[in-house]
Symmetry: C2
Subunit: 451 residues, 2 copies
C-alpha cells in the first residue's frame, strides 16, 4: 500500500499548508512549495479555496508558473492569470511548449494576450502566433511543433549519430518523422526500431507508412478517439498538402478525453465543465441561474397542465397527492435512456444505421418496466386509497409514460445532435419536460374523464 | 478535412456492412472484415445491434479474436465470449498480453475460465494465473509482465547490442528498468537517453531514480491520476519488497480514465457504466428496474408528504397546481451542486481541509439564486393566480429549498463517500428525495398555516 500512503500524504500536505497559511507561516509554506512538483502545486491550487489560492500563488516560485498554469483547468487558470502582469506572464511562458503557451493565451483578453506576445522573442512569438491561428478544439490547437524529422535516404547509423549530437529529444518522442524535400510526411521511424536495427540499414527500408496521419483541422475529440483505438503515444499532424506541421502527444489527448467525459456528466446536470470547485459565489450563482431559468419554464409547463385540470383536482385531493408519481418515474426512466444514448453518440456507436433498433429496444424496455411498475404502483394506490379506479388510472398513465420515456430518451438526443445542439446540455431537461407534461396529461386527463 | 472523411467512411462502412448482412452477402462482409484493423472491428461490433453482432463475430477471422476482445467493453465482450468454446477462446488468447488475457478471463464463469486456462501452455498459464491473483481494480490487474530489465553496471553500448539481438521491444516501451541481483528496482533508463548518450558510459551514470514506482496494490484510479499528473507513457510496478513485478502502459490508463469518467455520468442517471448500447431488452429492463424501485420509494415519500396536507389541497386546487414547482427547482439546483462535488471528490480536490468552505459557498449560491427565483416565481404566481399570499408562500418555500439544495448537495456526496457508498450512484437520488420532501413540506405546510 505504498502509494496509498503517497496519496494520503498529498491530502495531508494540503491540510498542513492550509493550517500554516491560517497562522501566517508564509516562509514555511514557501519552502514546502519549493519541494513540490509543479503538477502537485497545480493540484493543491485546484483544491484550495480562493483566498488561500491567491496567497499560495504569491508564494510559488515564478519559474514554475508556466508549468503549473498548463496543468490547471480553465476557470482556475483564468482567476490567477487575470491578476498577473503581462511581463511576468511572458516570462512564465518561457520553456513551455508552444501549444501550451497558446492554450494559456487563448483564455486571456485580447489586449493582454497581445501584450504578452510582444514581450516574447521573435521566433517564439511566431510559433505561438501560428498555434493561435488554429481554431480552438482542432488538432492544430493541441499540437506541438517540437519534433524530429529525418530523410529516408540515410542509414540508421547516421540517425544515431545525429541524435547523440542533438543530446535531447522532445518529450514523449516515440518516433521520428521521415519527410521528403518538400516537407511532406512519407513515413515514421519508431525509436524502438532504431534501437533494434543494424546500423547499416537505410531508413527507407525500416520506416513505417504514415498513412493515418492526422489532418490539422480534425476535431480534437476525433483525434482522441483515434489515439484510443490505435494505442498511440504520439502522432504526426499534416496540412492539406500532407506537409508535416506538428505532433500531438498522448498527455494532451488524455486531457481531451478527460474533458469530454466530464463535459457529458457536468452538462447533464446543467453545469459548465470548466467550473472551478471554489469559484466566486456571485459568478457561480449567475452561471447556474441560466439552467434554473430553463427549468422554470419546464416547471411552469407542468403546472399549466395541472391547471387545465383544476376542476378535477378540486373534486378529489387524492389525485393531487398522487399526481407527482407518474412524472417522476417517467423522468428517471427517460434519463437512463438519455445517458445511454449520449454516451453512444459520443463514442460514435449510434448512427443512422442502428437508431431504429435502439428506438425499438428502449420502447420495449419501457413496455416491460411499464407493465411491472403499473402493477406495483396500481396495487399500492388501491391498498392506500382503497380506490380501484384510481389504481387503474395511475397504472395506465405509468405504462404510457414509461414507453414515452424510452422513445423520447432515444429521439431527443439524436434530434438535438442533428440540430447541432449539444445533447448532453439540453437532453436531460428536454426529456424531463416531455415526461412531466405527458405523465401529468395522461394521469389527470384519465382522472377527469373517468372519475 | 482529410480525417473527417476517414470518420465518415467508418460510419459508412457500418451502414454498408449492415446492408450487406441484411441481404445475406456474407462472403463480401467477411472480405471487408479482413481488411479492417481489430480495433475498428471492435468499434463495429459495439455499434451493431445484437443479431448482426453475432453474425459479424462468426464472419471475423478467429486470429483477430484476442485483440478484438481486448478492445470491447465488458457487456459486449461477455455476450460474445459466453457463446465461444473454451478451446477457441484459449487459441484466441495466444499472442495477447497477459493482463489482457486476465481481463477477458475475469468476466467468465469460473468453470469456463478454468477450462480455458487448462488449454494454455504452462508458462502462459502461470503468467495469467499470477495476473488473476491481483484483485480487480488494482495496479496488478492492469499491468503487463512484458518489459525489459538491465543491470546498472554495464555500458550503454552493451545494452544497445543486447537490444539489437533481441530484435523487438514490448509495446509502448519508453524505458528499460534497472534492477539489482535481487530483482529490486533501482532505476529507469528512458530509451531516448539510450539514443542520445555516448556508447561507453555506464548505465548507472545516466539512469533516472525510480522513486515514484507504483505499488502493485494501488487502486487503478490512483494510478491513472499519477499518470495524468506526471505525463507518463509507462511506469514500473513493484511489490512490497520493491521487487519489479510488472509495467503499466498509457493505453490501459486511458481505459481507466474513460471508464471512471463514464462511471460518474452513467451512475448519476442510475445506469451501469458497462451497459451495452444494444443489450438484450429483458436484461436491460431488469437492471434498470432496480433504480426505478429506488425512485418509487422517493416518489412515495413525496406523495406521503402531500398526503399529510390533503385537507389543504382539498380546500384550494391552485395549491396542487403549483406544488410541483418548488421541488423541481430544488432538485435541479441541488443536482448542479452534486455534480460539482462528485467531480471534485473523484479528482481529489475535496477533503476535510476545504469542505467547510465549499458548504458555505454552495449555501450562499442557494441564498442568491433563492432570492432571485423567489421573486420571479412569486411574481408569476401573483400575476397568474391573483393571490398575494400564495405568491409569498411560494417565494418563502423557494428560498428555503434552494438553500437546502446547496447544503444537501455538498453534504450528501461527502457523507456517502465516508460511508463507502459510491456518491455518483446514490447522490442524485438521495438529493432529489431531500429537495422533494423539504420543498413540499415547506410549501404545503406554510399554505396550511396561512391560508
Amino acid at each position: 500500500m505504498a502509494e496509498q500512503i503517497e496519496f494520503d500524504q498529498a491530502h495531508q500536505a494540503l491540510q498542513e499548508i492550509t493550517e500554516s497559511l491560517e497562522i501566517g507561516r508564509f516562509v514555511h509554506v514557501r519552502r514546502q512549495l519549493q519541494d513540490m512538483e509543479p503538477e502537485d502545486i497545480a493540484h493543491l491550487l485546484e483544491a484550495s479555496p480562493r483566498k488561500s489560492r491567491e496567497v499560495l500563488w504569491q508564494l510559488t516560485d515564478p519559474e514554475d508558473y508556466g508549468e503549473i498554469l498548463d496543468e490547471l483547468t480553465e476557470d482556475v487558470k483564468d482567476s490567477l492569470v487575470s491578476k498577473m502582469a503581462p511581463e511576468v506572464l511572458a516570462e512564465a511562458t518561457e520553456g513551455m511548449e508552444t501549444d501550451d503557451v497558446a492554450y494559456v493565451l487563448r483564455s486571456l483578453p485580447d489586449d493582454v494576450s497581445r501584450e504578452v506576445l510582444s514581450q516574447m522573442d521573435t521566433t517564439e512569438r511566431l510559433l505561438v502566433e501560428t498555434a493561435l491561428s488554429y481554431p480552438e478544439g482542432s488538432a492544430g490547437s493541441i499540437m506541438s511543433t517540437d519534433f524530429i524529422t529525418i530523410r529516408g535516404d540515410v542509414d540508421v547509423d547516421v540517425v544515431l549519430r545525429y541524435l547523440r549530437i542533438k543530446g535531447e529529444l522532445p518529450e514523449a518522442t516515440d518516433a521520428l518523422y521521415v519527410i521528403d524535400t518538400e516537407n511532406r510526411l512519407i513515413g515514421e521511424l519508431p525509436i524502438t526500431t532504431l534501437l533494434t536495427t543494424q546500423p547499416d540499414i537505410p531508413i527507407a527500408e525500416v520506416m513505417e507508412d504514415a498513412k493515418e496521419a492526422i489532418d490539422v483541422n480534425m476535431i480534437d475529440s476525433d483525434v482522441a478517439s483515434l489515439f484510443e483505438r490505435r494505442n498511440w503515444v504520439s502522432a504526426p499532424i499534416i496540412d492539406q498538402e500532407r506537409k508535416l506541421v506538428g505532433r500531438i502527444t498522448i498527455d494532451d489527448v488524455v486531457d481531451v478525453i478527460r474533458e469530454d467525459a466530464e463535459h457529458s456528466m457536468m452538462s447533464l446536470a446543467g453545469m459548465d465543465d470548466d467550473e472551478d470547485t471554489f469559484a466566486p459565489v456571485v459568478k457561480s450563482a449567475r452561471k447556474r441561474s441560466i439552467w434554473l431559468a430553463a427549468n422554470v419554464l419546464a416547471a411552469l409547463a407542468a403546472a399549466s397542465v395541472s391547471n387545465m385540470f383544476e376542476a378535477t383536482l378540486e373534486q378529489m385531493a387524492a389525485i393531487a397527492v398522487l399526481m407527482t408519481i407518474v412524472p417522476s418515474m417517467g423522468g428517471v426512466a427517460g434519463n437512463q435512456t438519455v445517458a445511454l444514448v449520449i454516451r453512444g453518440l459520443a463514442l460514435g456507436h449510434i448512427g443512422d444505421s442502428n437508431k431504429r433498433e435502439l428506438l425499438m429496444k428502449e420502447a420495449l424496455i419501457g413496455v416491460l418496466n411499464g407493465i411491472m411498475w403499473a402493477l406495483i404502483i396500481g396495487g399500492i394506490v388501491v391498498a392506500w386509497k382503497g380506490n380501484w379506479l384510481l389504481g387503474g388510472i395511475i397504472s395506465a398513465a405509468m405504462l404510457t409514460n414509461l414507453v414515452v420515456a424510452g422513445i423520447a430518451g432515444v429521439s431527443i438526443p439524436i434530434l438535438l445532435k442533428k440540430m447541432n445542439i449539444d445533447p448532453a446540455l439540453a437532453g436531460g431537461m428536454a426529456l424531463t419536460t416531455v415526461t412531466d407534461v405527458i405523465g401529468l396529461t395522461v394521469f389527470l386527463g384519465l382522472a377527469t374523464l373517468l372519475i
